[in-house]
Amino acid sequence: MLLFKNKKGGEKVLSIWWFFVLVFIFAGIIGGVLLYYSTDVDIRDLEADVLSEKILSCFNYNFEISGEANFNIYEKCGLNKELFSSESIFYFSIDIKDEAGNSILKQGKISGGKVSFEGDCKAVSSNEQIRARNYPKCVPKTEKIWFIQNGIVKQGEIEILAASNQAGKKLAVI
């Protein structure tokens, strides 16, 4: 038959084919090892919890209602403002209520970071059956705090929603 007339050529083609088979096998081994060893350590909920605690501790005894407009949350809480832009991987929103349950913030909620996370958090928390792996991890918190009104320390309630969707990065070159 013409196809196998030149045996030498046939061997060459076979060698290249065998090489590709080897590459496929090795790719399989590499894939398996990668799957096994690169299991993601997910700390997004811990991160959101740390963010909410940080905000909580800097508001307590420090927040003055009359100075609401001048209250620089990034400076007071030691947060990097550049990381809380609209395309951020973090989000927080804060509402402070008096003892009667009325919001005392004249300018509405204080928030920073990616606003769409608030909706994502609500969607996941409203339905336990939703398993959204790439959605942010959210930590809602309601705590008693002390705030200052007309120079008098008063007790109220703070509602914080903190969220993180940081995945981390494997760098090929540093």
Binding site: S38, G168, K169
Partner: protein, 139 residues
């Protein structure tokens, strides 16, 4: 009388040499990869960078943190300890590198200056207020 072999059989064709060399290269690459993975460098890089970033996030100015880096030093025994952990203050990133190249990077959200130094198996981090007059605009 000893019969002489075929002279043509003594020379190895070029394509066979290339084939063997290519196989060896691929096999070596596989060995290096499996060796790097099996010592846990990939997992530990990730774990250390996330742990350090969380510590920095939780810390307050003037705090000192002491982190046990024994396992990292064991994996990256050929590296200078100072090169294992890098704190990129402009990008707010912790980069941990335990292999010969590359590493794992994780961001922290606080706006503090971080000083680091190694002492034995411990990494010491000193958290400070940024002193370059960085001020953020009001909300």
């Amino acid at each position: 009388m000893v019969k002489r072999g075929d002279k043509r059989a003594a020379t190895i064709p070029l394509e066979t040499v290339i084939f063997i060399v290519l196989n060896l290269i691929v096999f070596l690459l596989l060995l290096v990869f499996v060796r790097n993975s099996a010592n846990g460098a990939l997992v530990y890089e990730q774990a250390y960078s996330k742990q350090i970033a969380l510590f920095i996030d939780e810390a307050k100015p003037e705090m000192s943190l002491m982190i046990n880096m024994e396992k990292a030093l064991e994996i990256a025994k050929d590296k200078n300890p100072e090169d294992i952990v890098k704190i990129d203050e402009t990008g707010n990133r912790v980069i941990v590198s335990l292999g010969s190249s590359g590493g794992y990077s994780y961001q922290y959200f606080t706006n503090y200056a971080v000083e680091k130094n190694f002492n034995g198996i411990y990494l010491f981090l000193k958290i400070k207020e940024k002193s370059n007059g960085v001020t953020n605009a009001a909300v």
